[in-house]
Symmetry: C2
Subunit: 449 residues, 2 copies
């Protein structure tokens, strides 16, 4: 993408009322614009990151056997009366009347609707296990939206819903999602730790929050340091096999949020040198809640013996619009964002040091065409601006690699590569630039970790 | 995808209250489920088609130079007061109060919000032309939703918005979208004809509706038959060059919807043998409306001479949730849907005639792995069901090619390929099946027409 034809409204000034780094940086890097309290537009750079995050989530959901569909944002109040949550949900639910004065709501979550889909079509135990998910906009009318898209009112959410014949099978479904989540965050470059969590209004008795450690985290968390370095299951993990060993391995070490922590247990089970007491950002939440919705909504199947069985359910959420700022909280420095390659809006930026100079333009145009043809996701700063402004922008928006070419380098037949993360610079023959950048970038795409 | 692990709730019975073929077939093929009046879930098969349609739209928007972003579904009423449309819009607008009793609405369209984004960031004529688009859920509270997702209340819409310095440039932007739309529909296998149209509540003085001819169309249309066979601009069309010759070529032949038709002109300009008077389905609508929104909302840029210039705008809409049923209206027969390859949920379905037979399973599993490895988007009917049910399902859901393998064929070393569209069948050595199917499918993907 040529920057001269792109829409990247970076801000020079630090926005006043943005309290945390990710919110400030998302505004400064032209990723988002607030439209009203808790309502954001995702500008092109931000939207591109959001879609990369969404694609990783979908790939790992599909790999685990979950099936994607799409439920509408607007739901009938009657559906929520069946589960008893319409009155219970309170003011966070955005309630709506249509032109015929029928009651609707903007879905804050989808247990009711997916249970309705299930009970409409699924009749036999033979159709289980089943896990249906969607990635859809949701709305929670927070009293005080804050931290940009970290706690917005309209937000994008992947939620998956599992249906099984009994608790034993439902726990297996839970373990599949557990492993899918391990892989999902790792592919985004995040170290997310599953922690015992309170089940809240969703209900149920087995639940983990996925927490990224960050000083700006909303809640205190307590865990065993050895969780931070645990290897992630590979792409060949068998989702139709027994995942309990992986699940047990991860959950055998202590990790709990402040609502669930038992300090005596924490200190008794975790040797002092491994005790981590820190702040964390929740980037996902998974639940097993048994028959809480299937029972009142009569979601049953016929069992092998012909008897009706109420299915056991779980739900599994991760919010891309919250994950993006969480990644920024984890990866930024004084100069701006430092994207991991797998979720970077562009993998590298080609900086033309003297746009307008015919020779320099020709060399940069050629290099840009070659880099793009090599399959690299490139930004090309071809704007008629000074080098300083270009470097500042490239650093701010956090592109992992900068490849810099100007008249002097051109004369010497050399370009420069700057590694955004380390600040390291290397000079190399222009002819070697494509191979070098490919070599740097491809291993970091994490498509097959 | 193995059908035994998929979620494909096909219906045997023809739904009673579905009036048109596409609505009936989408319900029967397990593509959609109605959740309330005018509100639909897109089940996995339907969602997969919807995403293929969306991807084609995005590719052609990007090719033309439009830039993707994402605006929220919920908008502030104040924004719409600025343009004067909040009171004017009427009951189709879903109006909402939040917990603080502030007025919001579920966006039926986005001229106001995108103009707000523009005026916030764009200050100079140097930043033009600019075309921003998104693909987002919208809501229009129709009095009587009908025809399934053809006229639903919540629907997916791509809308692009162009910003230019003057009318001349704005018309060029309009021509770029015009050509992008020609390519978009052609890639989906549709013959969509641009017709002079009324501008309706959007306003403006240049507008085309894109119409697919179909007996079930909502409106009468009148056009020159020679439009039906006009060649489509190729992938090498230069969107930065002069597109007026293409635009003039297409618009020189008569085509108008019933609101705009002048029968005397129609008959005077179109020779009798070329007169088409038919019914059509609207699958897109493009508008140039000048300063209708930029004027009241003060969207201006500084011109070359330092003076403030109010920008000229256009908007360009196509609704994927309406395009999908339009494709079905155009392509179906007695047995079900007949998808064009480019938007088919799967390109081919492998039918195992004797699932459960160890030898047949092994041969089919192997063939499935090979077809998938060859890059074909495959469905694999591995269910323990009779051949008749499998053929019926494959025909109903409209997969372009069926590849059929059973014990008898296996003994002879042969498989059968059925062409869904023509009914043609061919028997061939199993070893040749992958190459043959690739040869049939790849040219029809229309990624580079």
């Amino acid at each position: 993408m040529r920057l001269s034809r792109y829409f990247l409204p970076v801000l020079r000034d630090v926005p006043k009322d943005a309290e945390i780094a990710s919110h400030r940086l998302m505004l400064r890097a032209g990723m988002i614009k607030q439209q009203a309290s808790g309502l954001y537009s995702w500008l092109p750079l931000g939207y591109k990151v959001l879609m990369k995050v969404k694609a990783i989530i979908e790939e790992e959901q599909n790999r685990s056997g979950a099936i994607e569909l799409m439920m509408p944002t607007i739901q009938s109040a009657d559906l929520w009366r069946e589960s008893g949550r319409y009155d219970a949900y309170g003011k966070e639910m955005l309630r709506i009347e249509d032109r015929h004065e029928r009651e609707f709501l903007y879905g804050p979550t989808n247990e009711e609707m997916v249970t309705d889909i299930f009970r409409t079509y699924v009749k036999s135990y033979k159709d289980l296990p089943l896990n249906l998910y969607h990635v859809q906009w949701k709305f929670r009318d927070e009293v005080r939206p804050r931290f940009g898209t970290m706690r917005s009112r309209e937000f994008l959410m992947k939620d998956a819903y599992s249906f099984d014949l009994n608790k034993e099978d439902a726990v297996k479904a839970y373990e599949r999602m557990f492993v899918a989540y391990l892989r999902t965050y790792a592919r985004m470059g995040l170290t997310a730790i599953p922690m015992r969590a309170d089940t809240g209004p969703i209900g149920g008795d087995l639940s983990h929050e996925w927490i990224v450690l960050a000083d700006t985290g909303e809640s205190a968390v307590f865990c065993d340091k050895r969780l931070l370095d645990k290897p992630i299951p590979g792409p060949d993990v068998d989702f139709r096999g027994d995942l309990k060993p992986i699940f047990n391995d991860w959950t055998s070490l202590y990790a709990a949020t402040e609502e669930m922590v038992d300090m005596a247990e924490f200190e008794a089970t975790v040797p002092e040198e491994f005790r981590v007491s820190a702040r964390g950002i929740e980037v996902g939440h998974i639940f097993y809640f048994g028959t809480k919705y299937s029972e009142p909504m009569k979601a049953t199947v016929t069992g092998p013996d012909g008897k009706e069985i109420t299915v056991h359910m779980g739900s599994y959420g991760v919010g891309p619009t919250r994950v993006v700022p969480a990644i920024i909280e984890a990866f930024h420095d004084e100069a701006g964002i430092v994207w991991p390659v797998s979720v970077a809006p562009f993998e590298a930026v080609l900086i033309n040091l003297k746009a307008g100079d015919a020779e320099c333009d020709a060399a940069c145009d050629k290099l840009y065409a070659e880099l793009t043809a090599a399959g690299l996701d490139m930004l090309y700063d071809d704007r008629d601006q000074g080098a300083g402004a270009k470097f500042t922008t490239a650093d701010l928006i956090g592109i992992p690699y900068q490849i810099i070419l100007g008249p002097r380098g051109l004369k010497a037949g050399e370009a420069e590569i700057k590694h955004r993360k380390t600040g390291e610079r290397e000079t190399l023959p222009i002819a070697d630039a494509v191979a070098r950048l490919k070599g740097l970038i491809e291993p970091q795409r994490k498509t097959d970790i």
